[in-house]
């Protein structure tokens, strides 16, 4: 294949993904505050207003926020083309999505028709514009790698999550049932079925498929590892997506297969990581291994005969599984990727500045100076400890304050690392500009 002379869309300016990355830990700090002020009550049920606010703070405010920023950069690097009008799209989506997430969290805590309408509009616009911009890129005939195909499934899943979420919000309104909805939406799909669908499509479909697809690209690329087995990289995202479609028919069977498939993915993750060529200690690899181990533990706990579990554990089983999947798997992978892409993006953007002025390369610091390895290791240790405290809090809600403190420590530290990397980037950029008299 000859691709000479193709015109590639420029990498979006670095401040665009950075604003998504910076916002993400700030929203988790807000979650830490909610946990502190809600007390023990929020750990008794997943339907508690504070639980819903914190869950959405993590899934929308941290996980989706980071992935939205990362995709802006990953698409040009992996697929060779980025979104059109990146500054306009990213700025408007970031603002709308952040305010939408905040108003949705506020609406869970203080239910109010105005907050509901505002969050509905802001999230619809923020996510809608983002999905449309990304879909415009993903339907084009760009590089047809397995990662790009997985992205398409993930974005489709996000559309499904979004519409189920809107339906759930609408159901909370008086007069909903007189709005003339199709009968099956009202009679066949209970609020619980829709909530389960919303959660599973969100966690497994949107974020899960995105992370799996991204891993096919970034693990071989960043860690000089072999590609994932073709049967995994080519078919796993499609199979998971198709099985998810079956969840409205039989949720139990669907979940069993989905959990097993994630076990298969975890094993392939271990195998690929074990075969990497340069086995240097790396914090991102630690995060991937933690995520893979968590998926296997998730499998073990999910299929463990309930007859052997105590009543306390049985009562908290859903929350424990959610903690494993969200905190130990999804958040681990995202933190690990942040540790890798923050210095990488900073370095790459600066390098590009030097392509016409090679002498300015001398000003670019070593990549590890943007984010020191020992600082990344502290973040990993904080993350592990916070995760353990999270599991303990589910079983002993009285230590909720410790979880709040640990979340505060962990995500303040992440924020500090981001601030250091971004500050060094702009300092170096100024030096380069001065040296070439820009």
């Amino acid at each position: 294949m000859n691709i000479s002379g193709l015109s590639f869309n420029a990498l979006p300016p670095i401040d665009l993904p950075f604003r998504f990355f910076i916002s993400a830990p700030i929203l988790v700090l807000l979650c830490a505050g909610i946990i502190l002020f809600s007390g023990e009550a929020m750990w008794l049920s997943r339907w508690h207003p504070s639980t819903l606010a914190v869950t959405h703070g993590f899934t929308l405010g941290f996980i989706t926020m980071v992935m939205m920023g990362a995709l802006l950069q990953l698409l040009p690097v992996i697929g060779g083309i980025g979104i059109a009008k990146p500054r306009l799209i990213a700025t408007s989506c970031h603002g709308l999505f952040t305010l939408g997430t905040l108003s949705l969290m506020a609406n869970f805590l203080w239910p109010n028709a105005w907050l509901l309408v505002i969050s509905f509009l802001l999230l619809s616009l923020g996510l809608g514009i983002y999905i449309a911009a990304l879909a415009w890129v993903l339907v084009k005939k760009l590089s047809q790698g397995d990662a790009i195909i997985g992205f398409r499934f993930a974005i489709t899943a996000l559309v499904i999550v979004f519409f189920i979420g809107l339906l759930l919000l609408a159901r909370t309104q008086a007069g909903f049932y007189e709005w003339g909805w199709p009968t099956f939406l009202v009679e066949k799909l209970s609020t619980k079925a829709l909530t389960d669908g919303h959660a599973i499509w969100g966690l497994v479909g949107w974020v899960g498929l995105l992370i799996i697809s991204v891993s096919f690209q970034v693990i071989p690329m960043f860690h000089v590892a072999p590609s994932f087995p073709t049967i995994i990289s080519r078919y796993l995202p499609a199979i998971i997506f198709l099985i998810l479609l079956g969840m409205f028919v039989d949720i139990a069977i669907t979940l069993n297969i989905i959990v097993l498939l994630h076990g298969v993915y975890a094993i392939s993750l271990f195998l690929v990581i074990a075969k990497r060529k340069r086995k240097v200690p790396d914090n991102t690899i630690r995060y991937w291994l933690l995520a893979a181990t968590s998926l296997l533990l998730f499998n073990g706990f999910y299929f463990f005969p309930e007859a052997y579990l105590t009543q306390e554990i049985l009562t908290s089983k859903t929350l424990i599984l959610a903690a494993f999947f969200i905190y130990f798997y999804l958040v681990s992978v995202i933190q690990g990727m942040l540790l890798k892409i923050l210095p990488f993006l900073s370095y790459t953007h600066l390098q590009q500045r030097c392509l016409s002025h090679f002498s300015a390369m001398q000003f670019i610091p070593h990549m590890h100076e943007f984010l020191q390895k020992k600082h990344g290791l502290w973040l990993f240790n904080f993350h592990c400890f916070t995760g353990i405290v999270l599991l303990m809090t589910i079983m002993m809600p009285s230590i909720y304050w410790l979880l709040s403190i640990m979340l505060f420590v962990e995500f303040c530290w992440l924020l500090k690392l981001m601030y250091q990397a971004i500050t060094l980037y702009y300092k170096t950029l100024n030096k380069i500009k001065l040296s070439v008299n820009e």
């Binding site: 294949m1 860690h223 000089v224 790459t348």
Partner: protein, 86 residues
């Protein structure tokens, strides 16, 4: 046209880009840099043209590509060599 070979296929980012750029800094208009890479360096492509370079990429498989980079002014010389090579 002299061909200078560079294998970055077993290096982690950003080393491939760093090595390519340091070689380009030394590349004369009579030379062509032949790079063995595991993936298409798309971010590099977008800057090469504006920096006065041209490139030609041959994709052997999903994780095996060969990239030829040369000064834009050496297009004819490159085409004659590349045609001979193929």
């Amino acid at each position: 046209m002299d061909i200078i070979t560079l294998d970055v296929s077993e290096l982690a980012p950003p080393e491939p880009m760093t090595l390519i750029l340091s070689h380009l800094a030394q590349l004369s208009s009579q030379q062509c840099l032949q790079v063995k890479h595991r993936r298409q360096p798309y971010p590099l492509y977008e800057k090469l043209n504006s920096a006065g370079f041209a490139y030609h990429c041959v994709v052997h498989s999903q994780d095996d590509i060969t990239l030829y980079i040369y000064h834009s002014t050496a297009q004819q010389a490159f085409e004659s060599v590349f045609d001979l090579g193929e």
